[in-house]
Each structure stands twice: as C-alpha cells, then as structure tokens.
C-alpha cells in the first residue's frame, strides 16, 4: 500500500496538528511534517492545504518580512481550526482503532 494515498485523506488534520502549538510558514510546516515521520509529504500538497484551510476559515495568516529572502507567510490556528482539529482527532481515533482491530483480527 502506498502511504501517500493514505496521507491524502489526513493531510488537513496533520497540517492543523503541526500548527496547533506554534504558527508556521509554508516550508516550515513541510519540514515539521517530514520530521514527524511523513517523509514523503509533497510541498505542493502542504502549501495547497494551508491555502485551502485558510480560505475555509480554519487558519489565520500574517506576513513576516524577511531580510535575506522573500517575506514569509505564517499560518496560525484559530477557534474554528481548533474545533475542526478536535473533531477530526476523534474521527481518526475511532477509524484507526477500527482498522487496527480489523487488521489484527484477520
């Protein structure tokens, strides 16, 4: 099974989770996800997910000027984002428990 296929369904919640504690800019979020073990996560997916979550109202965004490069667009979680994250945590917990039971029983 291809992990990148599985990742598609959970990228939203993964991104919300890594910005929950600390705001991050696009590439920073990519790095955090990879450091957390999602090595195959694509940059376009992450940037796209950040933009979509922002458009959907789950993230706030602000620009931090940078001296040596382009300005960085930071994303932070807001109340709606936290609510979404909590909901999806529960969905994921139930789903993964179900899947684990199914796979262990087999």
């Amino acid at each position: 099974m291809d992990a990148t296929q599985l990742l598609k369904g959970v990228l939203d919640v993964a991104v919300l989770a890594v910005v929950e504690d600390e705001d991050g800019y696009g590439y920073d979020v990519v790095r955090r996800l990879r450091a957390a073990g999602l090595e195959d996560v694509g940059e376009a997916s992450v940037y796209g997910t950040l933009r979509r979550l922002y458009t959907a109202g789950a993230l706030t965004s602000y620009v931090v000027p940078s001296e040596e490069g382009p300005h960085r667009k930071y994303y932070g979680i807001n109340a709606q984002g936290r609510a979404t994250l909590e909901l999806q945590r529960k969905v994921w917990a139930e789903f993964s428990t179900t899947m684990n039971q199914l796979l262990e029983a087999a």
Partner: protein, 332 residues
C-alpha cells in the same frame, strides 16, 4: 509581497500550474493557487540548490491534496489531444531540465522569448496582409500598422502571462505552432520580395557606373558621334545628363571587343564622356587575354574615328525656338 519581486521563472511556473488546473472551475483554481507565487518564492529561498518542480506534477499534487479527482479524461477528441499535448510538453520540459547541455541551451533561448513574441505577431499580420496582396517585402501597406501593433501587444501580454484567454487557449496554441511553422517560409517569401525590389533598384542605379554605361534599346552604346547644326562632325563634345552626371559609354569590353580611351580634361582628370572617344579594336589572344587586335582592318579604325557619317543633313532654321508670344512689328 508585490508580484514585481517574484522571479520570472516563478511567474511562468505558476502560470503552467494554473494551466494544468484549467479544467476546474475558476474559483476552485483560485482557491488552489492563490498566493502560489509567494509560496514558491519562499520555498525556493529555503533551499537555494533546488530547481522548480514539474508544474503538471505540482498541479496534480495540489489537486490530490484538495481531494479533487485527477483531470477529467472524458473531454472529447480535442480535449484529449490537448491533454496529451500538455503531458508531452511537461515530459519534454522535465527531460530538458535533467540534461545539463539541453538545460543550458534552453537557458540561452529563454531570454530570447520576447523576440518570438514580436516575430509571431509579425508573421500573423504579414500573412493576413499577404492575403490581400498588401505585403511589401518584410513590411506591408500602412493600413496594417495598427493591426500589427495590436497583435504585438496581445502576443507580448500573452507571452508574459498577463493576459489569459482560457476559452481561446487551444486556438492560440495552434496559432502559435502555425506561426512557428510559417515563420521560415514567410521570411523567405518576404526576403524574396525585397530582393526583387533591390535588384530592380540596383539595375536603374547602375547607370552611374562606368562598367554599364549607356545603352540604347538594351544594346550597349560604345561611342557617340555628334554633328553640329550644319551637319558637320564635332569632336570633344562633353555630354551630361539632367543631374550633371557624365554620360559614359558602355565599357564592357568583354562583350563589345571595343576599348575606349578616355579624354583628359584641363584638370588632368581622365573622363569617358567626351565624344567621340578614341576606340581600339580588341581581340582575345592565345593566352585568353584581351589585347589590341594587330590585324585590324584600317577602314574599320577610320570608321571608329570618323563616325558612321562624314556629314549629316543640316538642321533647318530653328522654328521651334521662336517666342510663343508674337513679337509686335516695328512699323506699327
């Protein structure tokens, strides 16, 4: 950040990504790609050695991350062809970026793209003008100047990705290819037109060169024999045209086998417009060189010197120079 600080390759990349998403509704594309340029600039700045990824793959990843289906395949024959073309272009681009030689060749041609933007506008208008027979060498009748300027503006703006025509995209791509195919024939054709004019102009112009000199009904004139009003031969007659250019004979000795000896003016200049000129009959010797004919008929030399006639009929009293206003008789 303003778009003006974004590198052109990022702008082009973002445009390609949007093109690869063009089958989606416009607001969906906006959601997926809003701020794409800034994000790309940021991620590139994170790792300086990195090159931009394949835009089609990048677009596919955006699409997948958003939970959207891959590009709808059932787009009919033309849509399918367009997709296949896009895929081929994407694969070719990727192959090019992997080969250093091709990549550096591409890097050389990329800055020349604006030249093509103008050239294709010219090709389009030239062909249109030619359809009406209005082309003139590389240019055309003045009425086509305004369409040309319009075409250049549209072409350049399209090339820069500033003006997009989503509905006309297929048409524009085909037009672009046709312009590329037509460029060489059109250029040759235009050059051919110019060449004709050039040759014609040169032919007229060459009247001033010694080599061609005077001709009558296409035949070279090697000498001129002038006679005065009384019909007697003249010597040392200097002839000029209306612009003051000396009227020189045809001195193509290869064709005429006659060589003229120039006259000398009081200034010391040797000139060929003083008639009749002294002539020498030339002949090809055994070494293939033109030399004076040693066995020339003396009568021929005499005819060359004296002209075709010893005397010609006198000119009648000049009736033509009478004043147009009658002169009043003195005794009135």
């Amino acid at each position: 950040m303003s778009t003006s600080t974004v590198a052109p390759e990022i702008v082009a990349f973002a445009r390609d990504v949007r093109e690869a998403l063009a089958d989606l509704p416009a607001d969906e594309v906006d959601d997926l790609t809003e701020g794409l340029e800034a994000d790309l600039a940021e991620s590139l700045a994170e790792d300086l050695r990195r090159t931009l990824p394949d835009p089609v793959a990048y677009a596919a990843e955006l699409r997948a991350a958003a939970g959207l289906p891959t590009r709808a395949p059932s787009r009919g024959l033309w849509g399918g062809l367009a997709d296949a073309w896009r895929d081929d272009v994407a694969r070719t681009k990727e192959a090019i970026t992997r080969s250093p030689a091709l990549a550096s060749a591409l890097a050389f041609f990329v800055p020349l793209r604006p030249v093509w933007w103008i050239a294709r506008a010219w090709v389009a208008i030239w062909i249109s003008a030619a359809a009406y027979g209005d082309e003139q060498g590389f240019a055309f009748e003045p009425v086509w100047i305004v369409p040309l300027l319009g075409a250049i503006v549209v072409s350049v703006q399209w090339g820069r990705g500033l003006w997009q025509f989503p509905r006309l995209r297929g048409l524009l791509v085909v037009g672009n290819i046709l312009a590329g195919v037509a460029f060489l024939p059109v250029t040759l054709s235009a050059y051919g037109n110019v060449d004709d004019d050039y040759v014609r102009a040169e032919y007229v112009d060459e009247g001033s060169y010694d080599v061609d000199g005077l001709a009558m009904s296409g035949e070279p004139v090697t000498n001129i024999y002038a006679y005065d009003a009384a019909g007697n031969p003249l010597t040392g007659v200097q002839l000029f045209d209306i612009e003051g250019k000396p009227l020189v004979p045809n001195r193509d000795v290869d064709t005429t086998s006659i060589q003229q000896t120039p006259a000398t003016l009081e200034t010391g200049a040797k000139v060929f417009n003083v008639y009749p000129l002294a002539l020498t009959q030339m002949i090809w010797d055994e070494f293939g060189e033109l030399v004076p004919d040693p066995d020339v008929d003396p009568a021929k030399l005499a005819a060359y010197a004296n002209g075709p006639f010893l005397r010609v009929p006198a000119v009648q009293a000049p009736a033509a120079v009478q004043p147009t206003e009658p002169v009043a008789p003195l005794n009135e």
